[in-house]
């Protein structure tokens, strides 16, 4: 509200002053005509009014420009834009005044030869004076504001005082003219201050910091506009007698405008030459600043880009943009092979069919390209296969300055031949996209990630600066790629962990939740996996089928290998056992033979299962045991202790013939007080710090020492004995399973 009120006040002030001035001037004209004597005081009042109008107008224009300023712009208005508007407005004023002079005759002044005082030729002269001053003067004031902003751009300590001094000297010089009649000669102080102002103008005229950051296009446009403006202002002041009219309006204002226009013309002149001198280097400057921008963007994206393919694309894009026009670039990712000849990432291979190089160690694939077709890349890579070969052997920057004469590419290096060949390519098949090239390896420590290739369509097109920049990009991208791969690895690992968790759950469910309850018998079992998922298995099965258990089986097995596959084989074994145990309730050997047949068919060749299976007949008080490559059973009775060794072959090693030939079974009496222990190799292969194994003898001793205790206690005693044995520095290297069966 306050702002608008001030604006209205200023506008009214300027308007009233101007109206009064016009009134005085018209009166003065007729008074002079009638040869009345005019009081000099009138000129004094006129000057005061004119200065008031000028100040009001200046403030109005300044406020207007400031309000229209671009946000965060010191200049308020873009220089090119300012020059263009100035050019148009000055042009319009010149045209308007020209038209006025054309329509009305006698619009200028006559000079009194005796005292040099000007007199208007006609009443139209008065009107032209006012038109020229109001419009031309407004433009001058606007130009002064723009000038101030340009001079203040990137100001240093003295900038403001220098500028204010210039305006101040012009003002003082103008003020000394107060009360003067148009045409009166300048006094000494006027000239002195004007000269001082001139010196300050020269100092200010070299404040041109705003020229450098302009784009090349803007510089070219500005150059012409500045020239145009210079001419226009000259025309306005000279050919249109603008200066004379300003002075006729008011000698103070006229002198002030004389100073401002001198300042303006000088500044335009220095601007013109400054732009002219910066023009040839502006392309290089633009390139440099775009390089800095790209570098910045590239470093930003290293921090937060995890999509590998996007990294490739950005890398190629930045490289292309930075080296300049008609640059092509592509990126070949390197995929090493694993020992069995399979690619690390067969999925990625399927998605990217354009292989550049392929051998036993690995292959390169183009995964991102710009300004060049796949065919063109292929054509080139056939010719320059040595690049990929070299990169594998010694990853370092390879630079080819001229594809046609490089000895690594062509046998003949005769310059004449090369020239003819080049002529041929230019006339014939159109321009080759690749005439000079650099290949930069992307490294993660010593590992090659891929190659960035940047090429230009001219020979010697890539200079040292370009190469440095490309190398920087490559280094940044290598870090980004490494990051993204590490993150993917972590994710994969987590997924694996999840899988293991599932396998662990499966495995825990495969083991019996509780032992069988059989009258007169006591049994217990336990299994501790060495890792998340082990390969040990045990189970009890009721073979009688009616409520009273008169016959039951016990199995302990060890699946080779660990992890998920072991868990699944274990599940298969449990299925086989549960389905076969009722079919062969009296013949453990037969059960193992059938189990082997089934498992050998389905299991992987490198996997196998060692298993021991025993059937206990409570009516006959016997135990029949058969062993498929498993640790022998320990038998402890009241009077003796022994190991029941039986010939046998692990399940899944042989399809049948051998297994059936060697597998055997043995039936033992199983009386009250007898104890048998089944276990896996984790028990006897546990080692102490001296690398001695726990061994079967220690196991027997342990069992014998606690044979009077319950099955559960015996089991715990064995486990504690193994733990005590390994103690500090030893280890249970495998899963550990113990099953104890005792007849009470």
């Amino acid at each position: 509200m306050q702002q608008t009120r001030i604006t209205y006040f200023l506008f009214a002030l300027a308007l009233v002053c101007e109206a009064l001035l016009l009134f005085f001037d018209v009166g003065l004209f007729y008074a002079q005509r009638a040869r009345f004597l005019v009081s000099p005081a009138l000129f004094f009042i006129k000057d005061l009014l004119a200065v008031a109008a000028l100040v009001a107008l200046y403030l109005l224009i300044r406020r207007r420009l400031q309000r229209a300023a671009l946000p965060d712009s010191q200049l308020w208005i873009e220089p090119v834009d300012a020059f263009w508007r100035g050019f148009v407005f000055f042009g319009s004023v010149i045209a308007g005044l020209g038209l006025f002079s054309l329509l009305f005759a006698k619009t200028e002044f006559d000079i009194n030869p005796s005292n040099g005082i000007w007199t208007a030729q006609s009443i139209y002269t008065i009107f032209k004076t006012h038109l020229a001053t109001v419009f031309g003067g407004s433009l001058m004031l606007a130009a002064l504001v723009v000038l101030e902003r340009l001079v203040f751009f990137r100001r240093v300590r003295n900038t403001q005082s220098n500028f204010l001094a210039t305006i101040g000297f012009i003002g003082i010089s103008a003020a000394t003219m107060i009360g003067g009649q148009p045409g009166e000669t300048m006094s000494v102080p006027t000239i002195l201050f004007f000269a001082l102002a001139g010196v300050m103008m020269i100092i200010n005229a070299f404040r041109l910091s705003w020229v450098l950051p302009m784009s090349r296009n803007d510089k070219v446009r500005s150059l012409f506009l500045v020239l145009g403006l210079f001419i226009e202002i000259g025309v306005l002041l000279g050919a249109q007698n603008g200066e004379q009219h300003f002075i006729a309006y008011s000698s103070v204002v006229g002198t002030f405008f004389a100073g401002v226009s001198a300042f303006l013309l000088l500044y335009l002149l220095t601007t013109f030459f400054s732009i002219l001198s910066y023009l040839p280097t502006s392309e290089a400057l633009e390139k440099k600043s775009s390089e800095i921008r790209n570098l910045y963007a590239m470093s930003r994206f290293v921090a937060d880009m995890f999509d590998e393919e996007k990294i490739y694309e950005s890398l190629v894009g930045y490289a292309c943009e930075s080296v300049g026009s008609s640059t092509v670039a592509w990126f070949d990712v390197y995929q090493p092979r694993t020992n069995n000849g399979k690619a690390v990432d067969s999925n990625a291979a399927a998605r990217m069919p354009n292989v550049q190089w392929n051998d036993k160690r690995g292959y390169f694939k183009t995964v991102a390209q710009q300004n060049i077709s796949e065919d063109a890349i292929h054509l080139f890579s056939e010719k320059a296969a040595f690049i990929w070969q070299e990169m594998l052997a010694h990853p370092q920057i390879i630079r080819i300055d001229d594809v046609e004469t490089d000895t690594r590419l062509t046998k003949s290096s005769s310059p004449v031949k090369a020239f003819i060949k080049r002529l041929g390519t230019k006339v014939g098949r159109g321009n080759s996209l690749v005439s000079s090239l650099v290949a930069v390896p992307l490294m993660a420590r010593t590992q090659l990630l891929g190659i960035l290739l940047v090429a230009k369509d001219v020979e010697y097109g890539i200079v040292k600066d370009d190469l440095e920049l490309i190398t920087t990009f490559a280094e940044q991208a290598a870090i980004a790629i490494q990051n993204s791969r590490l993150i993917r690895e972590v994710i994969d690992k987590e997924r694996l962990q999840q899988e293991l968790l599932v396998a662990q759950k499966i495995q825990l469910r495969l083991l019996p939740q509780s032992p069988l309850i059989v009258k007169g018998y006591d049994m217990d079992g336990v299994s501790y996996p060495a890792y998340e998922v082990g390969g040990d298995f045990y189970d009890f099965c009721d073979l009688s089928g009616d409520g009273r258990i008169s016959k039951f089986g016990v199995m302990v097995a060890d699946v080779s290998g660990k992890g998920t596959s072991a868990a699944f084989y274990m599940a298969e074994l449990k299925g086989v056992l549960q389905s076969l145990c009722r079919i062969y309730p009296d013949a453990p050997k037969e059960l193992l033979i059938k189990a082997n047949e089934t498992l050998a068919r389905s299991m992987e060749r490198s996997s196998f299962i060692s298993a021991i299976y025993a059937v206990i007949d409570t009516d006959k008080s016997t135990l029949t045991v058969s062993n498929a490559g498993h640790c022998p059973m320990v038998f402890v009775s009241r009077s003796e202790q022994k190991i029941i060794r039986l010939k046998g072959l692990a399940l899944g090693l042989d399809k049948g013939p051998r297994f059936n030939r060697v597998v055997s079974e043995e039936t033992l009496p199983f009386e009250s007080g007898d104890t048998v222990v089944f276990y896996t190799d984790g028990v006897i292969e546990a080692v102490n710090a001296q690398d001695e194994q726990f061994g079967i003898e220690r196991l027997i001793e342990t069992v014998a020492s606690v044979k009077h205790q319950s099955a559960s206690d015996i089991k715990t005693a064995i486990f504690n004995a193994v733990n005590a044995f390994t103690g500090n520095g030893g280890a249970v290297r495998d899963d550990l399973t113990i099953v104890v069966l005792k007849r009470c």
Binding site: N339, N340, G535, D558, V559, S560, G561, K562, E604, R605, S606, S607, F608, S610, A628, G629, H630, C631, P632, K647, G648, L649, A650, L653, D654, R658, F659, V662, D681, E685, V687, D691, Q693, R733, D734
Partner: protein, 118 residues
Amino acid sequence: MATFVSNIRTLEKSAVIDLVGDLDAHTSVQLERAIQDLIDKKQHNLIINFSKLNYISSAGLGVFMAFIDDVRSKGGDIKFSNMPDKIFQVFDLLGFPMLYEIYTDEKEAVEKFNASAA
């Protein structure tokens, strides 16, 4: 972490792989790679020398099973030699002596290969 090294020597027409240290689920991958490399180089007469092996797990045994059919179908074999008692017990328990030839000295295995080639 168990340490394991496998060294390869050529003895006449056979390749001898010396196993040193502990061969378990983790280190067996290393042995797998070594044997695959030999097969890739068309070496199918393989002798595994166990004299310096301290421990073998079931996964380690699986390595030999994984290659035996392939090697035999190409006219070669995997023969074992110089087994310490401790290691032999593990093989014996599972019934491996029925599937593989086991020699007290690698020279016998070499001679066996030479004889079958002649």
